[in-house]
């Protein structure tokens, strides 16, 4: 429903996107070492809450899935599950080099290399580790996308579910997941 074109937004959509932009509940999935940057981002020094960014404890409440660092294949299964449990509209931020191209674990037998093959990523933050400033700039980037109505990767996931599933199943051999039907 969210249109790609900024001009085409109705007034209701504009207000909705405005509220979404200013209220981001983050599910910080501490998959890797990047999780250590999150406390710094949230607390007094960098204070992400002034952008309306706030932690959420469960995927049901969260808007943003933040993948902090490398993803082992075993963890990937859980991440996919968490992503599918989140409610639309939802966004993913890949955090650190490991989510982009595997980083220093590019040749490891159990660490995936490119996150966007498995779940759609809205914003990548590069660096190893990205500093809190970089994290916040990533969030601001995401806010821009939301306001423009272009952060609709969740819809993309739904449309191209077969492609994503094929990639996921290539890694997760014993596929035992509930259906994703929306």
């Amino acid at each position: 429903m969210t249109s790609n074109n900024k001009d085409k937004q109705t007034i209701v959509e504009y207000i909705q996107n405005w509220s979404r932009k200013h209220s981001l509940f983050v599910m910080a999935y501490g998959t890797g070492c990047g999780a250590i940057e999150i406390p710094a981002t949230m607390t007094s020094r960098y204070d992400a809450e002034r952008f309306g960014i706030r932690g959420a404890a469960t995927p049901r409440q969260a808007d943003v899935l933040l993948i902090t660092g490398y993803l082992a294949t075993k963890t990937l299964k859980r991440v996919i599950r968490v992503y599918e449990q989140m409610q639309d509209p939802k966004y993913v931020i890949g955090f650190g080099s490991c989510t982009i191209n595997g980083g220093m674990y590019y040749d490891s037998y159990n660490t995936i290399n490119a996150l966007d093959r498995y779940i759609p990523v809205d914003v990548y933050i590069n660096g190893c580790m990205p500093r809190p400033e970089a994290v916040i700039s990533g969030f601001v980037q995401l806010q821009k996308q939301i306001a423009e109505g272009t952060a609709n990767n969740a819809a993309k996931y739904k449309e191209n579910l077969e492609w994503y599933r094929a990639n996921q199943k290539k890694i997760i051999k014993n596929w035992r997941m509930p259906d994703y039907n929306w």
Partner: protein
């Protein structure tokens, strides 16, 4: 070195195995795989070495062997015994000792998963740290992890130049790299 000698002699007399004192409080023994559990039982029940510190495995691919190490310790003597044994790499199999020490179960499950060593009678889930792994056990040295990663995971372009740049750097700085360090080159 009295204590060390005592335990070494005791084991030598009982089992006719080789061994030496590596340094203070450390006794190294090499034994045939068949008598490993007997030695462990002997040490535990009669010599007071009641604590299993660690079990580890080394892949001696050049010799076609796995080297298994059992490290046990006595709280009264404060002496560590390292018991070493070699088993064949092909169809590797070793006696299960989790009836002697319960915690051996964890180590053995890890070895089974990572090196493919079978322990007959070992109870526990097949999965230890990995999930749904059906390739060669990944810690064996003949498992090519890079090739596996390239085959399994999507490689993002831009990785081709990931080469050892230290030679270039030494040319510029004049720094000398020792021989042993050169082995770490990715080539």
């Amino acid at each position: 070195m009295e204590k060390e000698n005592k335990i070494l002699e005791a084991i030598k007399v009982a089992f006719n195995v080789e061994g030496h004192i590596a340094r203070e409080k450390r006794v190294m023994i090499t034994a045939n795989k068949d008598i490993v559990s007997s030695i462990l039982l002997f040490c535990k029940n009669q010599q007071g070495y009641i604590h299993l510190n660690h079990m580890s495995v080394v892949d001696r691919i050049e010799d076609g062997k796995f080297e298994l190490n059992y490290i046990i310790w006595s709280p009264t003597e404060k002496v560590t015994i390292m018991l070493k044994t070699f088993i064949d790499r092909e169809n590797a199999e070793m006696e299960n000792i989790d009836s002697i020490w319960d915690q051996a179960n964890t180590y053995e499950r890890e070895m089974r998963e990572m090196y493919g060593i079978q322990f007959p009678g070992l109870i526990g889930r097949q999965d230890f740290a990995l999930e749904d792994w059906d390739e060669m056990p990944p810690m064996r040295r003949d498992f090519d992890t890079h090739a596996y990663a390239e085959k399994t995971f999507y490689q993002r372009p831009g990785r081709e130049d990931a080469k050892d740049v230290r030679e270039e750097l030494t040319k510029q700085s004049g720094e000398v790299i020792p021989d042993f360090a050169k082995k770490y080159s990715r080539e």
